[in-house]
């Protein structure tokens, strides 16, 4: 029998995992116990981090990559994919996560940026990256750097969905407008969005982002998940919204059901009943730090 030649770390393989996460919920967890609760509730993946965004916001200071020991404990606790965050531009943290065999690396504005001009060259890694974006130009710059999955940023740790809605609408709205543009207008779009022309032309042809588009930042209820899925998100990330609520397990489960059945309001109504208090929300105007402003 001849051995089959295996090619690893290809774009197809890296983007492919994001395809498998569609229609699902990625949950922030800070330890193995929370990771098990997330898997029990039907999460398609967990995001391992030391503090959820609302605690990072409260505590202040520099937020960094998590302790590898904690990430390994979470990997041992669950069978679903494990993601972890690195600071924007901190490729050495990303190298560490790659040696730990995490399934996805999030170059995240939730942590304190390590580089004020450069994001990581994500093409040089075999582990795929997800990056945040507030608009289409930012999304395409991240894709040109090698990101295989985009999540709209929202405003993490607020329990307020308004920024998530602003960002997903901005991205999908510009995609729709580009599909209406003629070939000469595409050059202007590339200039305006500060994004590669080839990606703009690809969007004009396909009508969608070249990689999957998920939504994050401020989601706290099953209805929030249904809202952003109807606005064009293909999956949702829920951070503080689960483990900062009164009763995390049933809320996590309800958000999973709402994400699958987002088009059926009767299902969303049923799973929304009796969940207890959602996490306390914050007004965006009152925030000292706007995490979504990080990244360039």
């Amino acid at each position: 029998m001849t051995d089959v030649t295996r090619q690893t770390g290809t774009q197809l393989v890296k983007r492919g995992l994001a395809e498998m996460l569609k229609g699902g919920v990625v949950m922030d967890v800070v330890d193995a116990d929370q990771a098990r609760i997330a898997e029990d509730a039907g999460a398609v993946a967990v995001m391992a981090l030391e503090r959820v965004p609302s605690d990072i916001r409260r505590d202040g200071g520099v937020a960094r990559m998590s302790d590898p020991k904690m990430i390994e404990e979470i990997q041992a606790a669950v069978t679903i994919p494990v993601m972890a965050k690195v600071r924007i531009g901190h490729f050495a943290e990303a190298q560490i996560l790659q040696t730990l065999n995490v399934d996805y690396i999030d170059e995240s504005e939730v942590l304190t940026p390590a580089d004020e001009a450069h994001h990581i060259d994500k093409w040089s890694f075999d582990v795929p990256f997800v990056c945040g974006a507030t608009n289409l130009g930012e999304a395409l710059r991240r894709i040109s750097e090698g990101a295989c999955l985009i999540r709209s940023k929202g405003e993490a740790g607020t329990g307020n969905v308004v920024e998530a809605v602003r960002h997903i609408r901005s991205i999908t709205g510009d995609i729709r407008r580009i599909t209406q543009a003629d070939s000469a207008e595409l050059f202007e779009w590339a200039k305006r969005l500060q994004a590669p022309l080839s990606l703009i032309q690809e969007i004009a042809e396909t009508g969608e982002l070249p990689v999957p588009l998920f939504c994050a930042g401020g989601l706290a209820t099953p209805a929030d998940a249904s809202l952003v899925m109807q606005l064009g998100a293909q999956s949702v990330f829920v951070g503080s919204g689960i483990f900062k609520s009164d009763d995390p397990a049933p809320r996590a489960r309800a958000i999973v059901e709402a994400t699958t059945n987002y088009t059926d309001a009767s299902v969303v109504a049923k799973v929304s009943s009796g969940l207890g208090e959602a996490m306390p929300g914050l007004e965006i105007e009152g925030l000292e730090t706007r995490l979504a402003d990080r990244g360039w």
């Binding site: 029998m1 051995d3 089959v4 030649t5 295996r6 090619q7 690893t8 770390g9 290809t10 197809l12 393989v13 492919g16 995992l17 395809e19 498998m20 996460l21 569609k22 229609g23 699902g24 898997e39 039907g42 999460a43 398609v44 993946a45 069978t79 679903i80 994919p81 790659q98 065999n101 995490v102 399934d103 996805y104 075999d126 582990v127 795929p128 293909q234 999973v256 059901e257 699958t260 059945n261 059926d264």
Partner: protein, 192 residues
């Protein structure tokens, strides 16, 4: 003929696009009513733990098993292969697969994402190789006597069939090669 794609979670949109390219008009299956309307079904890749949970909460599990036992043509890819198998290793102890094809699989048997790979596969019945995309793929560890192996990687079956059930541990929906979707659709038509 109506071809459905189980759309509880995972890569259902890519299968929908591939089936559409073969000329059929696929529908998404999320409820027992949706399932009752289809004459063939694709079960996509995704997270098998999530999909098994949603099969129960959507009350699809029992009718799905009955339909497949009664001959519904079904094509399960990756997580779909896990769902259709007899036993799964490295799964959640509280979850059981549907037990419809005589295969035992190990979830993520090829390793974590860093080990995910592409490879050219020789598939019996196809005249040139098929590019297989394996993502945290299940490994077939035991293959029952009634199961026919159509392709393998390093001695492990990666495309298998048993009567009306076709399973692959790779993702034909992620390439532009429509041959396996076409094969499935042609067989489903022939079975009618």
């Amino acid at each position: 003929m109506k071809v459905g794609v189980l759309a509880l979670q995972g890569a259902f949109a890519s299968h929908h696009a591939a089936l559409t390219a073969t000329g059929v008009n696929p529908t998404e299956v999320r409820t027992p009513q949706d399932l009752a309307d289809v004459d063939a079904l694709v079960i996509p890749g995704g997270e098998s733990t999530t999909m098994l949970m949603l099969l129960d909460s959507s009350q699809i599990r029992t009718p799905l098993v009955e339909r497949i036992q009664n001959g519904l043509p079904v094509f399960g890819t990756c997580a779909g292969m896990i769902l259709l198998s007899t036993n799964m290793a490295d799964g959640r102890p509280d979850q059981q697969p549907l037990g419809l094809i005589d295969l035992d699989v190990r979830r993520n048997g090829y390793g974590r994402q860093i080990a995910s790979f592409e490879a050219d596969l020789d598939i019996s019945g196809l005249d040139h190789p098929f590019r297989g995309v394996f993502i945290r793929a299940p490994l077939a560890e035991r293959i029952g006597p009634k199961v026919e192996v159509l392709a393998s990687v390093d001695g492990h079956g990666v495309l298998c069939q048993q009567e009306n059930i076709l399973v692959s541990s790779f993702h034909p929906e992620l390439t532009n090669d429509l041959r396996l979707h076409q094969l499935f659709v042609d067989r489903a038509f022939a079975a009618q």
